[in-house]
């Protein structure tokens, strides 16, 4: 089994683990971690495909590489936005639960709708 295959299987496992964590973990921050794990697994899978497309003196197809770089930056931006939403939810509601029937304990720092 070549090294590329080993990395490919690792990436597949990372996708599976990330998906499991995303579904079963109740805390939003943990869901976010799991989602990032899933994403990085997908990027790695793309990298494996690019590695197999090595040609013309390059060890890895440059087009998937460029797309993955773009993807990593976008994933970071999305994570930062999600974290900002989460912190705002915490400040407004006093907890970070995603359950719709959870009790809301407003801290009074911001008026509702403010």
């Amino acid at each position: 089994m070549s090294a590329v295959t080993v990395f490919g299987l690792t990436a597949a496992a990372a996708v599976g683990l990330g998906l499991y964590g995303l579904i079963t973990n109740p805390q939003p921050l943990r869901k976010l971690l799991a989602f990032n794990l899933l994403g990085s697994g997908v990027f790695l899978l793309f990298g494996i495909i690019g590695r197999r497309g090595a040609a013309a003196g390059f060890g890895n197809d440059p087009v998937p590489q460029a797309l993955v770089i773009t993807g990593i930056v976008v994933a970071f931006a999305a994570t930062a936005l999600a974290i900002a939403l989460l912190l705002r939810l915490f400040r407004t509601a006093g907890s970070t639960t995603l359950r719709s029937d959870a009790p809301r304990m407003g801290r009074g720092a911001d008026a509702p709708g403010g």
């Binding site: 990330g18 943990r30 971690l33 799991a34 899978l45 197809d61 993955v68 930056v73 994933a75 989460l86």
Partner: protein, 314 residues
């Protein structure tokens, strides 16, 4: 089994273990630390896949800056863990496990059964490299062959900043992002924040410059510059600029603005949108990259700083 294969197998096992840790460990803070370590190890995998550009980006942005965002949130939300203990029931967990295992297995089978003649665009990238005068194929793809993706990605970054800023409360609207950092002005952090940024700025610009011909580029250099700025902010030597600052907003739109301006120029005087005149391709690309470097550095740092929290006295 050669020694390289052993090394790569150990690396893969380590990454897998860290991924498991991130999902399974009880404490959120430990999980986040595990994720940062995972990101750095994945960067090593990218080196193993001969994708140095991606490795640099993953280490700087995926593991580094992303890790700081997540760690900061985990530290702030540390006390909320006990209130959010509503684990799903067993059926949901079993179902999720079955679904995840099935998807992982399908992906693994797909990896094992990939056709042997893999499709590749590398020869096309080489054949057209002369058109831009840059030797790094990844920079060529990012800035020229698929420049549209990169330009629109800048817009995504801009939208993310707009989204984060619009989460500010009424009192802090247009104010300074993030908490105010106070550190001992004679302490070791302030010392580092005075010593390191000159070196870091040189390294950031070097990474951009060398990105034309070697691994590197605006993203990686921008991440280094962003971390230098954040270091100075965290040491209390400077404050984040208010979100309403006109100069800051100008920096934030400089990268995509110049990109689209050059693109429109291609539409007016050349063949198509984003078509560079071949004689001026390299200076144009370097100009766009320089503007992008500033934009990326500012955007990444402000995304990390978060929503405006302190109002500016008017």
């Amino acid at each position: 089994m050669s020694i390289t294969t052993v090394f790569e197998s150990v690396l893969a096992a380590l990454v897998l273990g860290l991924a498991l840790w991130t999902i399974a460990v009880r404490e959120t803070y430990s999980a986040t630390v595990g994720f940062v370590a995972y990101g750095l190890m994945v960067a090593l995998i990218w080196v193993g896949l001969d994708a140095i550009d991606v490795a640099l980006t993953e280490a700087a942005i995926g593991g580094g800056l992303g890790g700081i965002v997540l760690l900061g949130a985990a530290a702030r939300l540390r006390d909320t863990e006990s209130t959010a203990a509503e684990t799903p029931n067993r059926m949901v967990r079993l179902g999720a496990a079955a679904l995840s295992a099935a998807i992982a297995a399908a992906l693994a089978i797909a990896i094992l059964l990939l056709p042997d003649a893999a499709p590749t665009l590398a020869p096309a990238a080489v054949a057209n490299a002369a058109a831009t005068g840059l030797a790094n194929p990844v920079t060529n793809v990012l800035m020229a062959f698929r420049g549209m993706d990169t330009a629109l990605e800048k817009v995504v970054l801009l939208l993310a900043i707009v989204g984060v800023w619009s989460l500010a409360s009424d009192q802090a609207w247009g104010g300074r992002p993030g908490p105010h950092h106070e550190a001992d002005p004679n302490g070791v952090l302030a010392f580092l924040a005075r010593l390191l940024p000159p070196v870091g700025i040189v390294i950031g610009v070097y990474i951009l410059w060398t990105g034309a011909d070697h691994p590197g580029g605006a993203f990686q250099g921008g991440a280094v510059l962003a971390s230098m700025w954040l270091l100075v902010i965290m040491a209390g030597l400077a404050d984040t600029p208010p979100a309403s600052s006109r100069r800051l907003r100008l920096v934030l739109v400089a990268g995509p603005g110049l990109f689209f301006l050059v693109g429109l120029g291609g539409l007016c005087f050349g063949a198509a949108f984003l078509a560079y005149p071949i004689a001026h391709a390299k200076p144009l690309i370097l100009g766009i990259e320089t503007a992008m470097l500033l934009t990326i550095a500012a955007t990444l740092a402000l995304l990390l700083a978060g929503a405006p929290e302190r109002s500016v006295p008017r």
